[in-house]
């Protein structure tokens, strides 16, 4: 009876631990692009996974960093543990305290502190900085798993070995090492796992063109995780599971045999398994890494470093550009304008071409961070519609610094099966009928824009009374809101999780493809019309390549490729004419009427102080 209860309890805990993993495995066979829908069984994602170079690259980077950092941490950590064992108590306590810091410190603080260090030292962020950071947080794990084993070894045996004429090194490897070996192994494995699983610290210390699986996944959260990722994690998980069974099952069977000899032999086979298997793995990884590294460095002299929004370009466009021009693209993604800005400002990383939004471009111009673009190198600018160049003047008064890439509006997406009335006003977001069925944008300016427009004010308002009014309105709305999201609104609306969501027009088109019940509207009070444009930072090392890149993107056939992939409206009028599907070419979501746009405003940069006011008011909303 007692045993059954124990087993049930154990089973429940394991269910809790492995339920999400089972979910992910199931999702990897889901024949639908979003996780919100089950579209039947498929193995496609496994096939596509191996063709997806960026994921495979991220996998290799992750494994190499995990392996190298774990190896180095194991060597340094084991040495440190032995040294600390020999120290007096006081000094050892201090050292242990220091060792505990990275383990206990918030990841975010560790990550930020390392990033600040690298930036202060003008150490350019990249592969090396991730590796250094990972070694730093891995060493404590090794020390803490070797220390207890060291404490259990007897000093006398070691000294006896020395008395019998062994050299210290010989004595160490023959006497101490076998005793602490399990500790070293578990330290190594733990370090490896931690490095593999880390996101936050990597996020802060990585540079352009380098992605680990975690950072890759995070950039994909924006637009929904690619199912290939599920397939990859499933493969990783199954591989590890098989390895573990191989390592653990064999010796435990044999150890039941009483004979000492057998036991000894099983120990040897265990050690072989534990050494040979990881060594083989290491070999494969390193070989693969070198292969990728050499492949990547080929022709690296002629390159362009691109810093763009996540999922904001068709990957085939990049390949095509490389093929046609011979210029290698190093591609890096950001999640919000606010994350991008300090990276450019600090100059820690020199990007060639960046794609910020309107108000952020204004801020960058005001702070003298941008280079004037030489339009002689961009003849394809003629394909960009005049109205968009004119609109750009709101933030780039002489059209000197930016080339429009995508544009769109913000509006309301609603599910016609849950909303029976016609919607034309922001007021629906305050209708108690839809309590817990509303998805609101989780960014300061967008959220305030909705409230300010509803109140009839400008969304660039800096009037404290107006802002306070808007804040109160947002607080009033909060109980009705199901969640504040950025791009997850897409998956949630497709999955019928909510009736109403505030969304970017570009996403609306995609959601309609997936769920025909959804309808998009620009409310009558007006809304935001935004432009994301390409700019070249002042410290860009390859300005001409950057201009070639911008020019390439302005070519109508390329702009069309991008539009079909990302579904955000293109300012490229020539490309718009090329759209074959008439419904989309004339879609009022992608290309709204001029009359609708007249009601809309573009965000302007309001200055650091006003930004701070917005931020603090928004925090009041969020914490209420």
């Amino acid at each position: 009876m007692k045993q059954t209860i124990k087993k049930i309890y154990l089973g429940l805990i394991i269910l809790l631990l492995y339920a999400p993993i089972a979910t992910l495995i199931v999702l990897s066979f889901n024949n639908s692009k979003t996780r919100a829908k089950w579209g039947g069984f498929t193995l496609n994602w496994y096939v596509e996974l191996f063709q997806n170079e960026s994921i495979m690259n991220a996998l290799y980077t992750t494994l190499i960093i995990a392996l190298l950092s774990a190896l180095i941490a194991t060597v340094v950590g084991t040495m440190a543990a032995m040294g600390m064992q020999a120290m007096n108590r006081k000094f050892r306590t201090v050292m242990m305290g220091v060792t505990n810091i990275p383990m206990l410190n918030a990841d975010i603080v560790t990550g930020i502190s390392l990033m600040l260090l690298f930036i202060v030292l003008r150490f350019s962020l990249g592969f090396t900085t991730i590796l250094l950071a990972h070694i730093s947080f891995n060493i404590p794990y090794v020390i803490l798993s070797v220390m207890p084993k060291l404490r259990q070894t007897s000093r006398q045996t070691y000294e006896a070995a020395l008395d019998l004429g062994a050299t210290p090194i010989y004595a160490f490897f023959k006497v101490v090492f076998p005793d602490i070996f399990p500790g070293i192994i578990s330290g190594f494995l733990l370090a490896f796992t931690m490095s593999l699983d880390d996101f936050i610290i990597t996020h802060f210390t990585k540079g352009p063109g380098v992605d680990t699986l975690s950072t890759k996944i995070y950039s994909e959260v924006r637009k929904g995780i690619k199912p290939e990722m599920y397939a990859l994690s499933t493969l990783l998980f199954v591989t590890v599971l098989l390895l573990l069974i191989l390592i653990n099952a064999k010796p435990s069977k044999k150890s039941s045999a009483a004979s000492l000899k057998v036991k000894k032999r099983s120990r040897i086979s265990q050690i072989i398994l534990r050494r040979v298997v990881p060594a083989a793995m290491a070999l494969v990884i390193i070989a693969g890494g070198f292969f990728y590294a050499t492949q990547n460095s080929a022709g690296s002299k002629d390159q362009v470093i691109v810093y763009n929004w996540g999922e904001y370009i068709d990957p085939d466009v990049l390949t095509k550009f490389e093929e046609e021009t011979g210029i290698k693209v190093i591609y890096e993604e950001f999640e919000t304008n606010e994350i991008m800005y300090p990276k450019i400002q600090s100059g820690a990383i020199a990007y060639d071409v960046v794609c910020p939004s309107d108000y952020m471009i204004q801020r960058m111009i005001e702070n003298d961070l941008l280079a004037e673009i030489n339009f002689d190198n961009i003849p394809n600018i003629e394909h960009i519609g005049d109205e968009y160049m004119k609109q750009s003047q709101q933030f780039d008064s002489n059209n000197k610094y930016s080339v429009p890439y995508c544009w769109g509006t913000i509006g309301i997406l609603y599910n016609t099966t849950m909303v029976n009335e016609p919607i034309d006003s922001w007021s629906v977001l305050w209708d108690p009928k839809y309590a817990n069925n509303i998805l609101m944008q989780d960014s300061v300016r967008d959220a305030f824009a909705v409230a300010l427009k509803y109140l009839g004010y400008s969304m660039n308002s800096t009037d404290l009374d107006e802002l306070t009014e808007a804040k109160d309105l947002l607080i009033e709305q909060k109980p009705l809101v199901q969640a504040y999201v950025i791009d997850q609104v897409r998956d949630k609306m497709i999955g019928n999780e909510a009736a109403i969501g505030v969304i970017y027009s570009g996403e609306a088109i995609f959601t309609q493809w997936e769920n025909p019940d959804l309808e998009y509207v620009i409310p009558k009070e007006g809304s935001n019309v935004w432009i994301d444009s390409w700019v070249i930072p002042k410290n860009a090392p390859n300005q001409e390549n950057a201009e070639a890149f911008i020019n390439f993107l302005c070519r109508p056939d390329i702009a069309l490729m991008n539009f079909e992939y990302i579904t955000y409206s293109t300012p490229n009028t020539a490309a718009q004419q090329l759209i074959e599907d008439e419904d989309i070419r004339n879609s009022t979501i992608a290309f709204p009427d001029a009359s609708e746009l007249e009601r809309c405003e573009t965000f302007r940069y309001l200055g650091d102080e006003n930004d701070a006011v917005y931020n603090s008011l928004w925090r009041e909303v969020k914490s209420n």
């Binding site: 309890y9 050292m95 399990p182 796992t193 998980f237 573990l244 930004d611 925090r619």
Partner: protein, 271 residues
């Protein structure tokens, strides 16, 4: 023995360069303005009502998670330590194995499980049971915390439990102690180092997380970790962000002091 101490040398230099100095930089940012003048205003930011509330809520949720973890983990560790598994590493690996699935993906998977039309509700409605609506509430955040940090509670406790000499327990029994007495007088006091280290290993990361509250709380619930993250990412205000991080480090220092006091020999390590 002198030469042996030198083995710590590389680590000493390493920790100086990559642990101590970076922290000093955070301290510098925390105590200066944008112009580089000395100030307390960054630290004082913690006393604004919103930040205090975020801190309070973070403390509350992480306390609840820690208690839940402890209540779940202790019986679990008892069962595991009594299972007579030859390979302790195997037990450890059962709990570390999930980490090979990316942390963000695992947490996102909970979203799929808990959503209104999610897996759990599909099963519940199939069984004609009332639906479970905890997504985007503090309960979901607690669940996410417990799920992510439970191994850090189980492993230290398991490690102290297997070290308890079976003879001590037999002796207590021989001397007439009941099950409950054996538990409260022998097992519990002896497992204190593990419990303490488990508590800090769960409490601190739970206190400082921002990813879990974002993904499972629908960004409706602001914890102190979210505030700091936003200071760095949305407001690009590194000074205030650093100041608030320093406040958080206070809790870390307290945790370290607790460990130093109750777990002098590092028995309650997680491996």
């Amino acid at each position: 023995m002198k030469s042996k101490k030198l083995l710590s040398g590389p680590y000493l230099i390493w920790s100086l360069a990559f642990i101590i100095i970076p922290l000093l930089i955070v301290v510098y940012y925390g105590f200066t303005t944008k112009e580089g003048d000395f100030t307390f205003t960054n630290i004082a930011q913690i006393t604004t009502p919103e930040n205090l509330k975020a801190l309070g809520l973070a403390i509350l949720l992480s306390l609840v998670s820690t208690i839940v973890c402890l209540l779940l983990a202790f019986p679990l560790a008892m069962i595991l330590s009594g299972m007579n598994v030859n390979q302790t590493s195997f037990v450890v690996l059962i709990f570390i194995l999930p980490m090979w699935m990316n942390f963000l993906l695992r947490t996102l998977a909970w979203q799929s499980l808990l959503e209104k039309n999610g897996v759990i509700n599909a099963i519940l409605s199939f069984l004609h049971l009332p639906s479970l609506n905890i997504i985007n509430t503090p309960a979901a955040i607690v669940l996410g915390m417990v799920y992510n940090f439970l191994p850090f509670m189980v492993l230290p406790i398991y490690n102290v439990l297997i070290k308890i000499d079976k003879d001590v327990i037999s002796a207590a029994r021989d001397l007439g102690a009941s099950n409950i007495q054996t538990f409260t007088k022998i097992i519990l006091p002896l497992s204190k180092p593990g419990i303490i280290s488990g508590i800090t290993m769960v409490f601190v990361p739970a206190l400082t997380t921002f990813v879990i509250s974002d993904l499972l709380g629908g960004s409706k619930i602001l914890l102190i970790g979210n505030v700091i993250e936003q200071e760095f990412k949305q407001s690009s205000n590194w000074h205030t962000g650093s100041g608030l991080s320093l406040v958080l480090m206070l809790f870390i220092i307290i945790s370290m002091a607790m460990i130093a006091k109750y777990d002098k020999d590092g028995e309650g390590s997680i491996f």
